[in-house]
Symmetry: C3
Subunit: 139 residues, 3 copies
Amino acid sequence: MTTWQTTLTFDTPRRGTYAITREVEDALRHSGVTTGLCHLFIQHTSASLIITENADPSVRRDIEYWLQQHVLDGDPNYAHNYEGDDDMSGHIRTLLTETSLTVPIKGGRLALGTWQGIFIYEHRRGRFQRHIVMTVQGQ
Amino acid sequence: MTTWQTTLTFDTPRRGTYAITREVEDALRHSGVTTGLCHLFIQHTSASLIITENADPSVRRDIEYWLQQHVLDGDPNYAHNYEGDDDMSGHIRTLLTETSLTVPIKGGRLALGTWQGIFIYEHRRGRFQRHIVMTVQGQ
Amino acid sequence: MTTWQTTLTFDTPRRGTYAITREVEDALRHSGVTTGLCHLFIQHTSASLIITENADPSVRRDIEYWLQQHVLDGDPNYAHNYEGDDDMSGHIRTLLTETSLTVPIKGGRLALGTWQGIFIYEHRRGRFQRHIVMTVQGQ
């Protein structure tokens, strides 16, 4: 068994989801691991990782709708709003989704289901650069 | 250290939770690993995995009550409802719970707390067959 | 590659968040692992683990505000309330946050982002002692 590690960097020009399955698969090929686990860790507290339906983009629009309804931007009761209306809501949205994902590796590929895709979820409205530490363990 | 992998399949005849701790423990015995980690990954976007109280089933009924209150089935504002009222809510419920779980292995067994059980959470109302990739790493 | 495992115990005298990054870093040093993954698993169903902003404590106060608004303590519709108003809400809060976290290890340290801290989130109002199984895998 071996551990292989790299950092992937992505631009997230605005709030929303960004498909990264292909980039993760590409990096995975360099690891040489065929059976094991692939761990992704986003080093931020207002951007997160999700696995959801990869086919119909309206799924991700409906998720955004639900989050806007349930995690108010600029709730006047928030104390932490130094960077704007999307500051505190970004932290709560991150909490409700994932800071890290672990996906099995089988036959040298991510063992995702047919309809599963991996996405960065940028919760801030501005332009950011987000770093993901990818760690692969297996044989 | 070694990596051991299998796929577990479960029938989920209706919306609700299904205890799978025993099935995971059974599979774990075949891995031969006594110290390490057990990773479970459900290959679907409208069924998920949870760890919650294993004793009183009313806990899981109250969780279902909370989800029904907060993630509306058939919200008319959802765009994605091709498969019915439980389509989009199933994706959001999956997002709020877990697509994968990692549980420590100690002395050849899952190191769960006394009150912790592992459950599949089927969010769709119809009958499905759900696949979980189980990956064990350790020594 | 090696697997190293220990159990960390923390007192949580009241509902709220408790920073544990330093304690995890201290234990990590004993593992001897410099590249790999650090897994934390809390063996309880009404206390959880979160990664969020480590600098301004108002972030965690706003998270508590949001949870109190959205996961009612003592909702009269809950069936499971044997241990008080914070019993069932504690289980739901645990579900919405994390029972386990996995953090990459790089250069012998947790590869957290600048603003990320690890916290126990005690959801009950009484005094508890909480156990976390820490498993480190790597080289």
